[in-house]
Every structure is written in structure tokens, then in C-alpha cells.
Assembly symmetry: C2
Homo-oligomer: 99 residues x 2
DNA sequence: ACAATTAGTCAGAAAAACATGACTACACCA
DNA sequence: TGGTGTAGTCATGTTTTTCTGACTAATTGT
């Protein structure tokens, strides 16, 4: 009843969850280690707070990233790749050859 | 020199080639048979000429669809999935399970 | 000859995405 | 007590994407 013929397609959800100016780069950085807000702003040249904040929130909502408050020395927040996120990697590798 | 850290990622190209409001649905319809302009407009509820025309052109440029003029009874144009397009299908199927 | 169907193009408006700069709020350090 | 670093939010403006409706042009049916 929501969207006639579009939903029920898992690829659509995934593609949409990664389309956006910065999301894919963020995903790739998350492969190398946990993400932190201000660090991201420096790493993603040209990106701005607003967009990064929204992208983080959406990637989290879509279950690709997990947000954790790290109660340590300099209390901060980390976003790390979820199981679901990791599961995509080998599939993405196949695209390298298929394209 | 073009985009510092983004290129050399095959997923980026694919995601971009399929991001857009209608492209993924069009891809899926192309799996079922050749696409035709006016038929698409009817099948994609809410879509408009302009967007469909642009999506077709881009999918063609990206090598996912192939445009053919069919010189027959009612002379018309068909867009069918390319080899490259078909190659994506098994990978997409894996995404269904991974998500 | 006339109307319908095909496959579009074009200019302009509306909507969505993205960017900018100011601001908040908490923790941490001296 | 005041400054720095953390992780944001908010209002506003710009840019990109999508939509609307009018129009074109060739082909086909009556």
C-alpha cells in the first residue's frame, strides 16, 4: 500500500541507502576502522557538518553502521560497520569483475 | 586528479548509474522483457516523460541498456538489457540474502 | 486528409539534496 | 573560570533533481 511495485526489492533499499554524495566514501572509510564525526569532516574533503550528520544517521537507520558512545578518556562517539555492512563487502568485490 | 579518493571504486559507478528515482524499477522491468517508452510511462506510476527519457538515455550511456530501432509493423524503439546488465543479476540476488 | 500512436524535446516550476555559518551543550584540561 | 575538543542542531541559501504542460516530428490507421 506504500509504494506499489517498488518495495519488496532488497536491492532498491540498498542502492538508496548508499546513494547520496558522501555515503559510499563513508562506508569505505568504515571498512578501515570506526568513524568519528569530526574526523570524517576532515577526511571527506568538501563535506559539511549537516550532510555528514544526516548521512551518519541514515546509514545507522539502515543498519549499516552502529553508533556507540565510548565512555573513556575523551568521551566520544564511534560509528562502526555492522554485520550487515560487512556482509556486503564480498559481494561488492564481485562487482569489480562484473563491471 | 578528478576525484581524489572516490574513483577506482567499482561500486561507486554502479550505485551512481542506478541511483535516480526510476532507474532501478526500469532495470527490473527490463529483466522481464524489452522496454518501450510509452509503455514505461504507464507502468511506472507517477513517472513523467522527461525523467523516463533521461533515465533511458543514461542507462544506455552506462551500458546497461541497448537501444534498438525495430523496423516493423508499428516502427518503434526497444531498450533491452545488455550483457553487462545481465551480469549484475546474480550479484543482486546475493544482496537479497545478505540484507 | 485527419486523427492517433510512437518517441521524444523544451522552458519553467516545484521539490529534494546539499552547503554555509551561527549556535548549543557537554566533557576535558589548565 | 575560561578555552579547546567533541558532536551535533538550526535557519537559511544554493544547487541538483524531478515534475508539468506545451510542443515537435515521423509513422500508422480510417
Amino acid at each position: 500500500m506504500t509504494t506499489p511495485q517498488s518495495e519488496n526489492c532488497p536491492v532498491e533499499g540498498l542502492i538508496k541507502s548508499l546513494s547520496g554524495k558522501w555515503k559510499l566514501q563513508m562506508f569505505r572509510l568504515a571498512l578501515e576502522g570506526p568513524l568519528r564525526f569530526n574526523a570524517l569532516l576532515r577526511q571527506l574533503e568538501g563535506a559539511n557538518k549537516q550532510s555528514v550528520a544526516i548521512a551518519l544517521k541514515e546509514l545507522e537507520e539502515q543498519g549499516l553502521l552502529i553508533k556507540t558512545v565510548v565512555r573513556q578518556k575523551p568521551l566520544h562517539i564511534e560509528y562502526h560497520l555492522s554485520e550487515k555492512g560487512h556482509a556486503l563487502v564480498p559481494i561488492f568485490r564481485q562487482l569489480e569483475t562484473a563491471s
